[in-house]
């Protein structure tokens, strides 16, 4: 009898051990992205607040709509958690990536990720790959090189190539006073993208960029900005927080949609060469 009880106890323990991950999965792996309401949004991906919301594991698929297409899958999934506070929502995206790619250069792409939300709530969402002409999408985009410069890396070629040899910059001539308007004007002449105010270019105040699109190839800087982010490199991948405006026309408990994209620099992924999700339901609700 005692032997039988012992056997039953052991079997129960084994069953419990087997069931436990499944139970945990049920708790944390939501079928939708739930932005749990909190008092204040965390800026860091390591903040304890992220444990208060469920995790959605989103399968990534190839961008296969327009050339250049990605033909070989790279990043398999992105783990997403979301928190909401006031009119803001914060997403934490985590994905496995063997290498840290944050130094741009010829043939050097950088690691990046993005969050995409329909511009306006609609029961029929826009096309999942960058929206469509009738239905715009808002995109918030984070890049590892922008993060590196915000984390302290300088904005010179020697910060990217420590052994670079530079003969002379005309705008560094002794005849031009450092910081003078004449000097700045001359320097701008040799950096046309910066001179034209290309939001993609130049030293940054945040590691993210607000964009809008109405289909593939239409990505444009958004008129309204204000998003922020923070990416931290872990042992095996990235953990990135993207904080942006919650869609004003979506109330708590109502569902909109969200999509994600991930680029691995080491795999030469950039622009259209990316792994992405389809639309995933997104809802904001009070924490339990």
């Amino acid at each position: 009898m005692r032997t039988m009880l012992r056997a039953l106890t052991a079997a129960a323990l084994v069953a419990a051990a087997l069931l436990l991950p499944a139970c945990r999965a049920r708790i944390t792996q939501a079928t939708e992205v739930v932005a749990t309401r909190v008092a204040a949004l965390p800026a860091s991906p390591a903040d304890d607040a992220w444990t208060r919301t469920s995790e959605h594991v989103a399968k990534l698929i190839l961008q296969d709509l327009v050339e250049p297409r990605l033909l070989t899958p790279s990043t398999g999934e992105v783990r997403v958690r979301a928190l909401a506070a006031g009119g803001q929502v914060a997403f934490r995206l985590e994905w496995a990536d063997d290498s840290q790619d944050d130094r741009p250069g010829p043939s050097r792409m950088v690691d990046a990720c993005a969050v995409q939300i329909p511009r306006r709530f609609d029961t029929e969402p826009p096309a999942p790959q960058m929206g469509d002409a009738a239905k715009a999408v808002d995109v918030t985009y984070w890049r590892a090189d922008w993060q590196a410069t915000l984390d302290g890396r300088g904005d010179t070629i020697r910060d990217l190539h420590p052994n670079a040899s530079i003969d002379h910059y005309p705008f560094k001539a002794q005849s031009l006073e450092e910081g003078s308007s004449a000097q700045r004007e001359m320097e701008a002449r040799y950096a046309p993208a910066r001179a034209l105010g290309n939001a993609r270019s130049g030293p940054r105040k945040t590691p993210v960029e607000d964009l809008t699109a109405t289909g593939p190839g239409t990505l444009t800087p958004a008129a309204v900005t204000g998003s922020d982010g923070k990416g931290v490199r872990g042992k095996s991948g990235w953990s990135v927080v993207i904080t942006r405006r919650w869609p004003a026309d979506v109330k708590d408990g109502e569902r909109t949609t969200v999509a994600f994209a991930v680029w691995q620099g080491a795999r030469q992924e950039s622009g259209a060469r990316k792994m992405r999700t389809g639309w995933i339901p997104l809802v904001a609700r009070e924490g339990r």
């Binding site: 130094r103 010829p106 043939s107 010179t156 670079a164 950096a191 239409t218 950039s270």
Partner: protein
């Protein structure tokens, strides 16, 4: 893909966009036989346009020694290998262009150079095609050969950079055919760097955008030739506008050299871009090498060039190279003088075909002194 006509291939080909030729096409002729690789053109461009942060490695203009020179490293042979057979059936290209050979998921057949590929801009400089045995170098004809190839953006009729950009950040100006990267729109995906077979688009890591030769369009708009043309010591270059072959005008210097005399040829026409910088091939390089670089017309071009001493019009027009900063729209020969005209038929310059010769006597009777000529 659309079907477009590429006269350099003698046939239609596939291209990402429909045929849309500009009102006028900026073009140039470079005489490889005159280039001395002084790199003054390279520096003229460098100091004018690419002295900024992130542009340190960029050479919108470069001069490489052929057969071994290349910038970026092996830009030509890598693509030639990828393209496989490049057979010509007479003057019709029977192989595939980089648009027709594009793999699944790609817009063009291409590759992207890495940092170190830009690190040796003068690799192969003055290297001969073969070994020179002791004493052989002073023999004529030389046992071995090399020549200088000056390169800028070709402002192609069918640019691969333009067709590679997934967001339409590159455009071809309708008024002069100059190809530009919109620095406000570019997001630095480097698809153009990958697509351009001549590797004349460069990524700027400081601005995060790609940049390229702009054909000195602010000068072109004023009727002036670009910096690399007017600073050329060897006077190897002339810039102008090229008509379609069926609309060629003998009084247009570019039309005369390219379409009528067929003495200047495109670089790697088999790639399919209809490039608009035309080269007078080197007279001393093997015909097979010239044919691979400049297409099936190379041997005839060399023969015509060799005969220029007996060809007053051709020799005269070649005298105009480097003789004026203005863009020559029309030219004519008046006996031993060549006259260049601008777009409003104003005279730009008048050049004698033969420089006058003055013989100075050793004894100067007026000043009562003897001058010595030092060899």
């Amino acid at each position: 893909m659309a079907r477009v006509y590429n006269w350099q291939l003698g046939r239609e080909m596939s291209y990402w966009y429909p045929e849309n030729r500009p009102a006028a096409q900026f073009a140039a002729v470079f005489d490889t036989n005159k280039c001395i690789a002084c790199q003054t053109c390279t520096l003229a461009c460098k100091t004018t346009w690419t002295s900024g942060k992130g542009q340190e490695y960029m050479l919108w203009n470069n001069v490489e020694s052929k057969p071994y020179g290349s910038y970026p490293l092996a830009y030509d042979v890598r693509l030639l290998e990828m393209l496989e057979s490049q057979r010509w059936d007479g003057h019709t290209y029977a192989g595939r262009t980089i648009f027709e050979a594009a793999p699944a998921g790609e817009r063009v057949l291409g590759w992207r150079p890495e940092d170190q590929d830009y690190s040796y801009p003068n690799v192969g400089e003055d290297d001969c095609a073969g070994q020179i045995d002791k004493g052989a170098a002073i023999a004529v004809p030389h046992m071995s050969w090399f020549f200088y190839l000056a390169r800028i953006c070709n402002h192609c009729t069918y640019p691969a950079c333009l067709s590679s950009c997934p967001r339409g950040s590159i455009y071809k100006r309708p008024e002069d055919g100059i190809v530009l990267v919109d620095q406000q729109r570019c997001r630095g995906y480097q698809e153009c760097v990958r697509g351009c077979p001549y590797k004349k688009v460069f990524y700027n890591p400081m601005t995060g955008t790609s940049e390229k030769c702009i054909g000195c369009f602010p000068k072109i708009e004023q009727g002036l030739q670009p910096q690399c043309f007017v600073n050329c010591i060897g006077k190897i270059r002339t810039a102008g506008f090229l008509s379609r072959p069926d609309q060629a005008k003998p009084e247009n210097p570019l039309d005369y050299l390219v379409h009528i005399r067929k003495i200047a040829l495109p670089l790697f026409p088999q790639f399919g871009l209809e490039p608009n910088v035309y080269y007078i091939p080197p007279v001393h390089a093997p015909a097979s090498f010239n044919a691979q670089l400049f297409g099936p017309g190379a041997a005839a071009a060399v023969a015509a060039y060799r005969n220029a001493a007996h060809d007053a019009d051709l020799a005269g027009l070649l005298c105009l190279f480097g003789s004026t900063e203005g863009v020559v729209r029309r030219w004519r020969r008046q006996g031993e003088t060549i006259v260049a005209l601008d777009g409003k038929n104003g005279e730009l310059v008048r050049v004698p075909m033969r420089e006058p010769v003055f013989i100075r006597p050793a004894v100067d009777a007026q000043h009562q002194l003897v001058r010595t000529n030092c060899p």
